[in-house]
């Protein structure tokens, strides 16, 4: 007999980083339907931006997200530069690229830590967040801030990278790479994670295209898109790097894509520091004429899209912002339905929305019931691990 139950999660929940509301419909342990209600973080930034001038709106969009705080500004300045074909000096393009890639490493490490945490693998969580600090240190050196870097402006960047800082940046990157190797091993060679993530929450290539998914989510489903290569901006067309793709579409593939992308990012930063020409960092544009422009940038989670329409005054009359999660998130019906409720957490986290925690609350009536105590649970867990090992031939 089937018995469907609704499991509400959120909007305010001790384990979630940000408020949102999931309604899971479960039949036994299997999720049969899911719906999401967002909007608890809606701050009306598109409306606010219409009342700010072009310089101020870059600071506003920087505060959309604490993690991608250079992706939104770069998409925004590119949209404004697109209106008037504003030139950007070459050195500024390289500095923008370095800033973007540092952000990608720190964001992917942050996700990796959270994913480990959701899976109960807190070692990965501690390591990933510890070594993310190295990147935050570089960011502080390059931009003056660990977050909300305020580096970008229309026509260039605000701060130059000093020559004496380059050895420090390189030394921190050197320090990071062995740690990345360690993390890569801890995740990709772990049989429990293979068992837990492979084949879970599969997003097919057809669905990935139909939902117009972006970034690592699309690339893990075999959709070979990356704004950095397809719509080159900053200095991405001047250096050599690879787009990482996987065909499987499951959570494991998403993890692999993100981990391998961090190596590419580190390589991009090194090449930029090496090839960066001397020169001005700002073209000092004066007025923004009437017109409309589109800015695309590859944030750690996928393409950031900004559309800016100007009427010749000093503030936009429309500023449309589309963050990558907006396109990736609606795939939850494809990926979660049919899976178990215990996997729903990591599947929802697999697209990296950064706010997926599942906790179940239940009331136990102990009368006439055989309850599991700690010893019994540990024994059960050990037996299951033994079974998994036997199945995987370890």
């Amino acid at each position: 007999m089937s018995h469907k139950a609704h499991v509400p999660i959120g909007p305010y929940h001790p384990l979630q980083e940000e408020p949102e509301f999931y309604k899971l419909v479960v039949d036994g342990e299997t999720v049969v339907d899911v719906d999401v209600r967002i909007g608890y973080n809606h701050r009306g930034i598109e409306k606010i931006s219409e009342s700010k001038n072009f310089d101020q709106s870059i600071f506003i969009v920087e505060r959309i997200c604490g993690i991608c705080s250079s992706s939104h500004p770069i998409a925004c300045v590119q949209a404004i530069e697109d209106i008037a074909d504003i030139p950007v000096p070459e050195r500024a393009l390289y500095i923008r690229t370095i800033n973007q890639e540092l952000e990608r490493i720190h964001s992917h490490l942050l996700w990796l830590g959270l994913a480990g945490h959701f899976l109960g693998y807190n070692t990965v969580f501690m390591w990933a967040w510890k070594y993310r600090e190295l990147i935050c240190d570089i960011m502080e050196t390059v931009t003056g801030n660990r977050q909300n870097y305020a580096m970008l402006k229309v026509g260039g960047v605000r701060r130059d990278i000093e020559k004496e800082h380059v050895p420090y940046i390189l030394s921190r990157l050197d320090e990071l790479l062995p740690k990345l190797d360690m993390l890569k091993g801890a995740v990709l060679d772990d049989p429990v994670l293979h068992a837990r993530l492979k084949g879970v929450g599969v997003l097919t290539k057809e669905a990935a295209i139909d939902y117009a998914t972006l970034g690592p989510v699309a690339r893990a489903s075999g959709v070979d898109i990356d704004v950095r290569r397809d719509h080159p901006y900053a200095a991405y067309d001047k250096i050599k790097w690879n787009v990482i793709t996987r065909e499987e579409g499951d959570v494991f593939a998403k993890t692999v894509v993100r981990i391998l992308e961090m190596y590419e990012s580190a390589s991009i930063i090194r090449q930029c520091l090496d090839k960066m020409p001397q020169g001005p960092i700002d073209s000092n544009p004066k007025d923004i004429p009437a017109g409309e422009g589109i800015g695309l940038a590859e944030a750690p989670r996928g393409e950031c899209f900004h559309y800016v329409k100007s009427d010749g005054t000093n503030s936009p009359i429309r500023h449309k912002i589309r963050a990558p999660t907006y396109m990736n998130f609606p795939t939850f019906r494809e990926t979660v339905v049919g899976e178990t409720i215990s996997d729903a957490t990591i599947i929802l986290a697999g697209i990296d929305p950064c706010y997926c925690c599942t906790e179940r609350m239940l009331i136990v009536d102990t009368k006439d019931k055989d309850l599991m105590n700690v010893e019994k649970l540990i024994k059960l867990s050990q037996e299951k691990t033994a079974r998994i090992k036997e199945k995987m031939g370890l």
Binding site: D210, Y211, A212, H231, E303, Y307
Partner: protein, 155 residues
């Protein structure tokens, strides 16, 4: 396929149903269509020409409400934006494109609540961002909506 070939392909297919084509650069082009043609044009660009749907955005302008569908061609680095003007601001209607691509599911809900545009045929136009008790008929991204001032003395 470069941007000129793509534009020619679309105008050959639709003829006079494409009102204006404005090629801004080798990377950006805008084309105006009648609202009634939106599903046909979007289906052709998304399905037959295999463009990626970036997003739709609405603009509250003097002549009416504009809705712009942005499509990018990732193999050749350009974006084509398709624009439809809904002249009646009191009762703006356009057909849903969720039949063509599910990626328009959320953005139609968002434009519906923020601009008050009805998407005919879309059965799921529940609020996405605004609270459930938001007054009906108030559309915050319309130009006549003024953000209420906060009175700190009352807090």
């Amino acid at each position: 396929m470069n941007i000129d070939e793509a534009l020619k392909n679309i105008t050959d297919r639709f003829g006079s149903r494409i009102l204006i084509v404005s090629r801004r650069s080798a990377k950006r082009a805008y084309m105006d269509i009648y609202p009634k043609d939106v599903v046909d044009v979007v289906r052709y660009i998304f399905k037959d020409m295999a463009f990626r749907f970036n997003i739709a955005s609405a603009v509250d302008d003097f002549d009416g409400l504009e809705i712009i569908y942005h499509f990018s061609h990732d193999a050749a680095n350009f974006v084509i934006s398709v624009r439809a003007l809904l002249k009646d601001k009191n009762d703006p209607h356009i057909d849903t494109i969720t039949e063509v691509t599910r990626s328009a599911w959320w953005i139609e809900r968002e434009i519906h609540e923020l601009f008050g545009i009805e998407f005919d045929g879309n059965k799921d136009l529940r609020p996405l961002l605004l609270p459930d008790d938001w007054p009906s008929g108030v559309y915050p991204l319309r130009k006549n909506f003024v953000v209420p001032k906060r009175d700190s003395r009352k807090e």
